[in-house]
Subunit: 355 residues, 2 copies
């Protein structure tokens, strides 16, 4: 079958012909419809890491997918059903997976499909145990792969709300750092009717006219140009915000977030920067966190419950939004173009099949 892979020693993904997987006992065979590409895929490619699935010299890419049950293989799934797979899998069973919280498993207690230690979904077929598949409605065939990135933001928001549950927190304003696909999906999440936020901001560094700025404003958010207003200056230029969601992977943003937060506010960090030494006024930041009860936390991955939340959220997004953020639709044969870093595009997807 066709699969988009990164081979050991190579720095660009290629379309390969690999064996079609055979479902083991308790596993279903899935036929892939669409697979999204995100920043993590580019990191996997650039780092050409050693985390290839054991025994293989290549890794099938892709961790954001929507697929059809091709062969239920005796599981409770139904052939023809639409599903979205989660990302983490247990190398061997452990308490985090038993609890349904693989997102909280530490290093070494998980592999990640398409990222580290396991093949991804960017192939005509893949196999999975049903416990790692979330059923989605037929209407999700074109954009269901967005459930995965949204689920990461659902986790971050869930943890932020829990983190401030020891007192009466009344969050009103939120700032999303980054206007890439994850930033825009998160802004849309924060703008749905069930969100607690009345005012949202989204930071980027693009000139008008720009489609991401149009999306930010159409969602109801305020665009903040980081070249004019730094994260630290946010409170003066607009307002100190109750919630910051960092999706830039720019390490200074993590620390500048303390200044952007209102008293009792919380910042969620989701970017994954490389090493970078720089100077901070650590005394001032420490003091500010204490005297104003501020909080910072890191959040990675997501679990089935958060996928279910993301599924509901995605269904509540305006139709125009999903259409507007999917700007690149490619076939597997167009792998080179799909993985080109196009600064004008927003979200890219590789289409293997249609419903």
């Amino acid at each position: 079958m066709r699969a988009v892979v990164i081979r050991r020693g190579e720095s660009r993904p290629t379309l390969a012909n690999v064996p079609r997987p055979t479902p083991g006992a308790g596993e279903a065979l899935l036929r892939t419809l669409r697979v999204g590409i995100d920043g993590t895929d580019h990191e996997v490619i650039q780092n050409n890491h050693g985390g290839f699935p054991s025994g293989d010299d290549y890794q099938i890419l892709g961790h954001e997918a929507v697929a059809v049950v091709e062969d239920a293989n005796g599981t409770a799934l139904k052939a023809g059903e639409l599903v979205v797979p989660t990302v983490r899998r247990p190398p061997e069973t452990n308490k985090y997976f038993e609890r349904g919280e693989p997102d909280m498993a530490p290093d070494g207690q998980y592999v990640e499909r398409g990222i580290v230690g396991a093949h991804g979904y960017m192939s005509e077929f893949f196999t999975s145990s049903p416990e790692f598949l979330v059923s989605v409605p037929d209407s999700f065939a074109e954009y269901g792969f967005l459930v995965e990135p949204i689920s990461n933001s659902e986790k971050a928001l869930e943890h932020a709300l829990a983190a401030r549950s020891a007192f009466e927190w009344e969050p009103e304003s939120a700032l999303v750092l980054g206007n890439g696909p994850l930033g825009l999906l998160t802004l849309a999440m924060l703008e749905t009717p069930s969100s607690p936020f009345q005012r949202t901001y989204c930071l980027g560094r693009r000139d008008r006219p720009d489609p991401t700025i149009d999306i930010i404003e159409r969602l109801g958010g305020t665009y903040v140009d980081s070249r004019e207003t730094s994260v630290e200056a946010m409170a003066d230029a607009h307002e100190a915000v109750d919630f910051v969601y960092e999706a830039t992977g720019y390490a200074k943003h993590a620390f500048e977030t303390v200044d952007a937060l209102a008293p009792n506010g919380v910042g969620a960090l989701l970017g994954i920067p490389g090493d970078w030494e720089f100077e901070i006024d650590g005394g001032r930041l420490h003091r500010e966190m204490v005297l104003q009860n501020k909080m910072l936390f890191g959040s990675v991955n997501s679990n089935v419950r958060q996928f279910e939340m993301a599924k509901k959220r995605l269904a509540a997004f305006p139709d125009w939004f999903v259409d507007d953020i999917i700007t690149g639709v490619y076939t597997p044969e167009e792998t080179d173009a799909a993985f080109e870093k196009n600064t004008d595009g927003i979200k890219t997807v590789v289409v293997f099949d249609t419903r």
Copy 2:
């Protein structure tokens, strides 16, 4: 009446004769028994801040007190009843005080008795509305002033547990940074039977033999000498811990805490450092927080509910512990000696009266 005050422009506290306060409507008159001294008092003295109570050129010190109701003045209190006062008061009423959460009020929405904008308790008498007084048993006459510092740690622990409530957190180990009075009180708190921690550590920089090291070990904790084992090296030297409580005010500790934490761990910052610029590997710390779901938060002050928790906690402390940490007992006439920074001593208290 006698009062220990800091006068405008002076850098040492003195015993003064000030007018005895008259309780207003709805206020009781309290006769002070004992008032503890802590690091905040020394900061108030050193900074000789401009936050004197309006109209006065001096501030009565002290925010850790135990007192007797001298005149209930029509309130529901009973004359002779023992109480511990909380610290924050509303400049004018606001939602934080209405909710019983003055500890979450931002700058400008509170004054603090003995700290900023209001007289403290280091005088023969003080007045207070009953809503800011916590009733304590008669047995608390000698050490009830410890309820205030413990309540700050109760708040930090309560917020830490809430902050990790979105998943199944199983904390086992805790590290207290600082073996001053607050550090030791916190270690005792973490060692009570209702605490979730099986293993505790306390960081200091003292040579054996030393009374604080004896206390740490008698409580069941492990002493960590920061000159041999840095906070960053904690994981290698002992173990990565689930909870870090910072009570040193040493800003680098705030950032080194990320390395001391186990995956999914949380660090509470309570120290209040001055400005201090230094270099960090911000990229690595940011990435570590994200990939291991780590969290840092600042915590200040405490509310009546947390005073009540501290009251129960104090009653559960071993008797020897309270005796061992109160190492300096002074009369108001010995103000100079009481405020001398004695590195051998642990907790100092000024005694105005006995039960």
